[in-house]
Subunit: 387 residues, 2 copies
């Protein structure tokens, strides 16, 4: 693990031996927790933490950021990275497996997510364009940033792959006058999104479809997908590229927003097996599989890594306020697991281990392109190269 | 070739058979020209054109854009792409070969380039931020865009790999108060750049070094390289990444600007053998070899494809004004070859075959990053995540 500035202590030292001031400190409360962590850190540590056999003193995100920075270049990580193709990936991404994977996380109950997400229920990286934005306003800023990047204009037809609880689809229809077809395989999310569309009187302009992205049909002026690629699996990137390509009109533009990494490697075992079954966060190089060979051209890539560190920290703060309700809804194991997931992911973004890329692309021959990206930053309407 | 809306005619039809109104038209003036073109279009056509055995009626860039759009997805291109790893690449990119490759193009004589480049002698893609900019102002806008992306602040130390005639290095020192070390292996360019530095009184702040990028030493706050990656060769991308990484301070930022393509494939034979020996234009996926594995994180990618189509069109217009001088300096073969190179490259960018990527990156752990890219578009000074 290197030598991170964290105090480690064991089950046999009484708590009285430490003053609270020595935090950051990680205490292994059982022998099993220590062994599990040593044998397979990425799975053993979180499992033991969720079981209540590890205690972390100090700010959880800070302690984990420090630990990640110390361990990211350890020989263990290097070994995992080098031989990861032989590690078993128990969950696949066929249409049937995808249904099960998605349901396991996103169908935990809308009431749970409502406790700690923003009012629009956006469960992806927000955009804190300036330091004064709170979570809700940063999520709205993100939706708007995506709409501008996709070049939305009134009357356009838009398809969304993996629409969560529908916030982006509804925002696009309400604020940009576009027609949207939004696909998602989480039943609970789709039901929620349809109800919201009816409440907002948008059920004629936004259609929520409970179906796999592989079944997207039709032609659109824009393709957007925010936080779905993580669930697609690298074996399906080329197929996704073909679907995107056939969905885009000649002047169409697309945006894919995804958690990513600086270099390919195995998923964190705990995230892959317990939190997001079947998930994979690609490197930018791997993401290019989607576009290369499908006749598409990348226009713009932006890394929003530190925005996600902040988003997750805000989610964790909201979550902590509702621990009693969450404990009643599930149990203490669940609370600890979710605390570690939210805090651990925030730390992974802060430590530079995870990245968040927004990639904008278009069919290779499209010359109806803005000269600059200035319009994304409020500098009027874009000036196009060709009409 | 598909069926492009171009009239093809042969040596045995008198010119009188056509009215000028039938342009676009391509005339093969000899049997050899036709055979050469059929046998190996990417080398035979340009060789025959340069030899004066092919005539193009109509606007050269328009005719070639039309032809490229028709042929880009032809079976011939598909075959080349699929089997390109077995095509011989006669020129390598060792330090000695690089010297020879670079000299062959860039040491043609400064007087020649001065005829048709802008006054600052910038021989890379300009940035036509709005439609009113002429070549000179668009080149200055590009230099400024690069400086903003690299996050220059007074007092910083900057290293430039492949500095051409020194315009960017001098601009950075003059307008951003930084100290620059600029590397280049073209003797004529370095001599020109040193003279300019003395004329501008910048010879204490800008050091021009006639040496290979592989010999860059020291630590810098920014690494910039505009138009050199095309000459590095994919086998050297990982080594370049290590050089960049060791050159950057923990908060340092880098920018690499390069001609690229949407998917890997063989170089156009004529460009590779006659125009830029040893050159290779990578896909974005291939470019990622530089960053992945070197502990760097990509922050921003921008595609300036249509800016380069326009830049090359402006160069060609200037070139055409000076054809008598160029013919006296070289010969008619040279004039036709350069006309085809400038016009053909402009067409390749317009047709969506070539791309131009600016990639901004930083050491993976650097959190001293601007929240948004707004400052690139004149929205004040950037607000940073961490000091």
């Amino acid at each position: 693990m290197g030598r991170p500035p964290i105090e480690f202590s064991l089950w046999d030292r009484g708590d009285g031996a430490f003053s609270p001031a020595v935090a950051p400190r990680i205490t292994f409360l059982t022998r099993r927790a220590l062994w599990q962590t040593c044998l397979r850190p990425d799975l053993g540590f979180p499992d033991a933490y969720a079981a209540g056999e590890i205690r972390v003193d100090g700010d959880l995100i800070d302690v984990l950021t420090t630990a990640f920075r110390a361990t990211d270049q350890s020989p263990w990580q290097e070994l995992r990275r080098r031989y990861f193709q032989w590690l078993p990936l128990p969950q696949g991404n066929s249409p049937i497996e995808s249904r099960r994977n998605i349901s396991a996380h996103y169908d935990l109950g809308n009431a749970f997510y409502q406790l700690w997400l923003d009012p629009e229920m956006v469960y992806t990286c927000a955009y804190y364009a300036d330091a004064t934005l709170d979570l809700a306003r940063a999520q709205t800023a993100k939706l708007e940033h995506v709409c501008r990047k996709a070049g939305l204009e009134p009357g356009m037809r838009v398809v969304e792959a993996g629409c969560g609880w529908g916030a982006l689809a509804l925002h696009m229809a309400q604020h940009h006058g576009v027609k949207v077809r939004a696909f998602n395989i989480s039943r609970e999310q789709v039901e929620y999104a349809r109800r919201r569309a009816r409440e907002l009187g948008l059920n004629r302009t936004v259609e929520f479809i409970e179906d796999d992205y592989r079944n997207i049909d039709g032609r659109y002026d824009a393709f957007v997908s925010v936080g779905m690629l993580e669930h697609v699996g690298p074996d399906n990137y080329r197929a996704l590229g073909r679907i995107v390509r056939r969905s885009l009109s000649p002047h169409g533009r697309g945006l894919i927003h995804s958690v990513a990494r600086n270099l390919p490697g195995p998923m964190n075992g705990w995230i892959h097996q317990r939190v997001f079954p079947g998930s994979y966060t690609p490197s930018l190089r791997e993401m290019m599989e989607v576009f290369e060979g499908a006749g598409m051209s990348v226009l713009d890539v932006e890394n929003l890594r530190l925005h996600y560190a902040r988003t997750l920290a805000d989610w964790l703060r909201n979550f902590e306020r509702h621990v009693p309700e969450v404990t009643r809804m599930y149990d203490e194991y669940f609370v600890r697991a979710w605390r570690l997931y939210l805090g651990g992911c925030s730390a992974a973004f802060a430590a530079g281990i995870l990245q968040l890329f927004q990639v904008v692309f278009t069919p290779a021959r499209n010359n109806h392109l803005p000269r600059t990206r200035g319009a994304l930053y409020g500098n009027g309407t874009p000036e196009f190269w060709e009409p």
